[in-house]
């Protein structure tokens, strides 16, 4: 009984294999025409608008061949590699996931239509051909879509890592004076990292005054603003005074609107003003050589 079933299964596998071969032959024969039909439908659906017609045609040819090969061999490894390679090239050009999935599904439909046209006379055969074709086609669609998404995620991960590595340096500009230029988007994770770096910097450089410059920060949300306040308080516990400089009009408005209490913070308009204020706190006076000479010759009355 079991043998019989195995035999039948084998028979049906063989039949499927035969059908697949026939199918592949059909797809190869009509390559030019089907490919053109596909490109026409891609353009009609306004997919891949970031690419020129020639580019679409070239890519379509490669995808078509890989596709037919995948249907023939039943393995998707080669297609997977091609999808990854293709994704790598088109992601920087702003091609979206829906476009990639869209074109693969369009190809599936174009090929299915051509099968309908070829076998429409015999529904039995058509059914068997579709039974053989559909699983392969779906598997290919999934492979390409997953490949594209994975590639995108990889790009996003790399960029996140790059942003993380773009850590904000804590710089000593004078003895006991540190500056911390904050640049770009500050998320809670980065804010925490900044605070830890700053507090450690205060410890190692024995800083008395810290100037935090936020000129390069586009936006501050409530949680990051509160984090900034906490940083100022924590720095004070280490005996350092914090001066915040470069709060843009937008950020100033946001902070007041969301009601963050910045009353305890010293704020100065720009970095230059902040450094001057810090020097004053540290007891420095910066003057030009000429002024210094004049002062030396005729010291002001004490």
């Amino acid at each position: 009984m079991n043998d019989e079933r195995t035999a039948m299964a084998e028979l049906s596998t063989q039949a499927t294999a035969t059908l697949l071969r026939e199918l592949v032959a059909h797809l190869r024969q009509n390559r030019t025409q089907l490919r053109e039909e596909w490109v026409r439908r891609i353009t009609a659906a306004q997919l891949l608008t970031a690419m020129s017609r020639e580019e679409i045609f070239a890519e379509a040819t490669s995808v078509y061949d890989s596709y037919v090969e995948a249907v023939e061999t039943g393995t998707v490894e080669a297609l997977q590699a091609y999808a990854r390679n293709l994704s790598e090239r088109i992601i920087p050009r702003g091609v979206e996931t829906n476009e990639v999935v869209g074109i693969v599904l369009l190809l599936r439909d174009v090929l299915a239509r051509s099968l309908f046209a070829k076998y429409h006379g015999d529904v039995g055969v058509l059914n068997r051909v579709l039974d053989a074709y559909e699983p392969a086609a779906n598997r290919i669609a999934i492979t390409v879509a997953v490949g594209f998404v994975q590639q995108r995620e990889r790009v996003i991960r790399e960029q996140q890592e790059a942003i993380r590595l773009l850590s904000t340096p804590v710089l000593q500009v004078r003895e006991r004076l540190l500056i911390l230029p904050m640049i770009g988007l500050i998320d809670p994770q980065r804010a925490r990292q900044l605070t830890e770096q700053l507090l450690r910097g205060i410890r190692t450089n024995r800083a008395k005054v810290v100037v935090i410059d936020v000129t390069g920060v586009a936006a501050l949300d409530a949680s990051v603003a509160n984090h900034l306040v906490q940083t100022v308080d924590a720095a004070r516990l280490l005996g350092a005074t914090v001066i915040v400089t470069g709060l843009s009009p937008e950020i100033a408005q946001t902070l007041v609107n969301i009601g963050v209490d910045l009353g305890r913070m010293t704020t100065v308009g720009d970095l230059q003003g902040g450094i001057e204020e810090a020097e004053r706190l540290l007891g420095y006076t910066v003057m030009s050589l000429k002024e210094a000479m004049a002062l030396k010759e005729s010291p002001p009355p004490a």
Binding site: E196, L199, I202, R206, K208, A234, R236, L237, L238, G239
Partner: protein
């Protein structure tokens, strides 16, 4: 464990060596407030370098010490708060508001010198 209080010129230095119980903290507060008058000290330094935890009770005691010492006519400065402790404290809302803080003992001494520089040290 009792906190040793050292007399250094016109300053008192309380150096906390290990984690303290609440009773130890209260004891420290009493000793400092008492001794600042006895030695006619101008300033008090509380060194908390060895503390790796600062709870709300401890920070309240530190604030009390600063306020009480002020009433006794001297300055207080807390020195040696660890960066991680500082961060944990502000997250708990323990800001030690109105209390002077310095990086370490040396800084604390310099701070007190500056605050009391108008007076001649004997």
């Amino acid at each position: 464990m009792q906190v040793p209080i050292l007399k250094q010129g016109s300053y008192l230095i309380a150096s906390i060596q290990s984690a303290l119980t609440d009773a130890d903290l209260v004891q420290l507060r009493e000793s400092l407030v008492e001794q600042v008058g006895r030695y006619r000290s101008r300033g008090v330094i509380v060194d908390v370098t060895a503390l790796d935890v600062m709870d709300s009770f401890a920070s309240r005691i530190l604030r009390d010490i600063a306020t009480m010492i002020k009433l006794r006519g001297a300055e207080t400065v807390i020195v040696g708060i660890d960066p991680d402790v500082a961060l944990a404290m502000v997250r708990l809302g323990l800001n030690l508001e109105g209390v002077a803080t310095s990086l370490d003992l040396e800084e604390g001494l310099a701070f007190l010198d500056m605050r009391t520089k108008n007076e001649r040290r004997r």
